[in-house]
Symmetry: C2
Subunit: 143 residues, 2 copies
């Protein structure tokens, strides 16, 4: 194969050909390898993806800080990648991880998805908390 | 509370206040409510999110077709939402779904994440197929 991969190459081929968006990013979903729960959704640029593949630990790109970021670099809450998958059109990554420490979320919780959205109602929505804090983010991040 | 929600309101409050991006979208991860596997990652605009909440079935916004889209509207492979979660900064949604029919992926597979990315190697990456086709997309979509 030479030149630009075709849609068929991208969907049915064995070549990793990530479709980065206009900002150079793909979405990445991290799930807990044991429970299957979604821990977080973040973004990877080409460098973060390369480092994650090479090291087996999760690297991301922070849109707010505009910088490469190793998960756990300040908190110690690193993510060991058990398996990485790529989706059909190669614009999203799924990693199953072993989450070190008490949680993945900067608010001090295991998962970033700690609130449920009730279904079946029209109008204003009141969120329901499903997870409490497992650590104090102040002592973990403000060092 | 009046006016624009603060970061604290967004992270610790009970008000659903989705942070749509410049294109008016949030990312949505759909996982299989039974197996926990990630089925797909797609996007929702405000209307898709509202309809999903009200109907309990997954609606998305197609960036390529630039239109609202009910999952399964042409294939019959609808997604009944068992639970919806929102993340800390409210720019991502997680839905646990019961996937109707043989799969979620337009390529004819159960999940869009049917290829694994091997870890621990530098250089070119060869994907490994982990899921075969469960239906023929031609007969399902080209009607």
């Amino acid at each position: 194969m030479s030149g630009k991969p075709t849609p068929h190459d991208i969907e049915e081929g064995r070549l990793l050909a990530p479709k980065f968006d206009a900002s150079g990013l793909v979405a990445c979903v991290a799930t807990d390898a044991t429970t299957g729960d979604v821990l977080m959704v973040a973004h990877m640029n080409a460098d973060a993806l390369k480092r994650t593949i090479e090291t087996g630990e999760a690297w991301y790109y922070s849109r707010s800080r505009q910088s490469l970021w190793k998960k756990g670099e300040s908190s110690g809450h690193v993510q060991r990648v058990v398996e990485m998958r790529v989706d059909c059109d190669q614009d999203a990554i799924w990693i199953k991880v072993e989450q070190a420490g008490p949680g993945a979320c900067h608010t001090g919780r295991r998962s970033c998805f700690y609130r449920a959205v009730p279904l079946g109602k029209a109008g204003a929505v009141t969120l329901e908390f499903r997870e409490g804090k497992t650590f104090d983010p102040k002592t973990v991040y403000d060092k």
